[in-house]
């Protein structure tokens, strides 16, 4: 758990440095620490969604109004976003996504595997630049690369935090 603490704190610092004013989310277990840091920050807004694609609209709208926002979600939520990713792409609005992966290393739940394995190919098929991080120390650099490409270039960029970093959920099974 010490490793998870480390990457979440580092990513939070990079979020603050870039004056990202809000984070839209459907939560994931691996995002808990980061989302709690955001919720506790009085200068930031945590926007809980009903489905992840709302984030594409909210992030694009805030960019139109001059504010930076991003989306944090589990890989299964990526599947909900595909058509919606056309909005920031058409407007050349920055769309930064932080995705914690399921269906990879030691997944317990077979229902997660199809979307987990499909996350990167599907994102790339609709033009999203992917920044995978397979180890805890790779998460913050991947986030920095993705954030700067998104905000400076007007691209959609996704940081894919491996299940190796998060750890597989065991549901109490051996």
């Amino acid at each position: 758990m010490a490793e998870e603490t480390n990457w979440s704190d580092e990513v939070f610092r990079e979020i603050k440095k870039r004056e990202i004013a809000s984070v839209c989310t459907i939560p994931d277990g691996g995002l808990t620490r980061l989302l709690n840091l955001i919720k506790a920050d009085k200068d930031m807004r945590l926007i809980t969604l009903t489905t992840e694609e709302e984030g594409m609209g909210i992030v694009t709208g805030q960019w139109l109004g001059g504010k930076r926002s991003m989306i944090a979600m589990q890989s299964s939520g990526v599947g909900n976003c595909i058509n919606a990713l056309g909005l920031p792409a058409a407007m050349r609005a920055p769309c930064l996504m932080l995705v914690t992966m399921r269906g990879q290393y030691g997944e317990f739940n077979p229902w997660q595997v199809q979307m987990g394995q499909g996350t990167r190919p599907v994102l790339e098929a609709v033009g999203v630049k992917c920044f995978p991080a397979d180890h805890p120390e790779e998460v913050a650099p991947a986030f920095v690369g993705a954030a700067d490409l998104a905000y400076n270039g007007g691209f959609s960029c996704a940081v894919l935090v491996s299940q190796r970093v998060i750890g597989a959920k065991g549901f109490g099974q051996k």
Binding site: T51, M56, G57, G61, W63, G65, N83
Partner: protein, 195 residues
């Protein structure tokens, strides 16, 4: 065709927009976008050509970033239902400067007028109230445009209205399709980008 709504959308939207007093308008894809364009072009209209379901989330984003401006999402019944959960997000975020109007023709107008769910048992104003948006208005008459404009543009939001519009054969009124150009001119109008 079972739709018996009486409101004629083009003059109704034009009457409404004539009273917008600087409100930023986020029309959904299809007819709401054509209606805005037909009423007279403005850089303060964020035309849409896609992303069904995103008119309200996009309008919420603009409203959160610009609390000094009133923001009006102008959408249809099909798009509103596709993104219906976003009403819960609007309510939870307490966007006081956000207003939503659904132009409800009870049909998927753009794709051949297939019957939509609001023709039957679905009540959008009741759904909005269920999500916690207390101020709602249901409009069925053409001459209520002024009353509706006052409801949408004055007082604290978020507020939500449905106007029951008829099916009509309106001439195409197509804005520019380049999303980057549509976005850029709004950002220039808001003073965020240099012209």
């Amino acid at each position: 065709m079972t739709v018996s709504n009486k409101i004629n959308r083009r003059p109704f939207v034009a009457a409404l927009l004539a009273q917008r007093q600087g409100a930023l308008v986020i029309p959904g894809l299809g007819s709401p976008t054509w209606d805005c364009h037909a009423a007279g072009d403005s850089p303060e209209y964020l035309y849409s050509w896609g992303g069904m379901g995103l008119a309200v989330p996009t309008a919420l984003g603009v409203a959160l970033a610009r609390p000094d401006r009133r923001v009006l999402a102008l959408t249809g019944d099909g798009e509103m239902l596709m993104g219906i959960g976003s009403l819960g997000v609007v309510s939870a975020q307490g966007a006081k400067n956000l207003s939503i109007l659904v132009l409800d023709n009870e049909s998927f107008g753009e794709t051949g007028r297939q019957t939509g769910l609001t023709s039957d048992t679905t009540d959008l104003c009741a759904i909005a109230r269920g999500f916690g948006i207390q101020r709602t208005m249901h409009v069925t008459e053409q001459d209520k445009a002024d009353e509706l404009a006052a409801f949408l543009l004055k007082g604290d939001g978020p507020c939500f209205a449905v106007a029951k519009i008829g099916l009509s054969e309106d001439p195409w009124s197509l804005p520019v399709k380049d999303g980057a150009a549509i976005a850029r001119r709004m950002r220039i109008a808001l003073g965020i980008e240099a012209a």
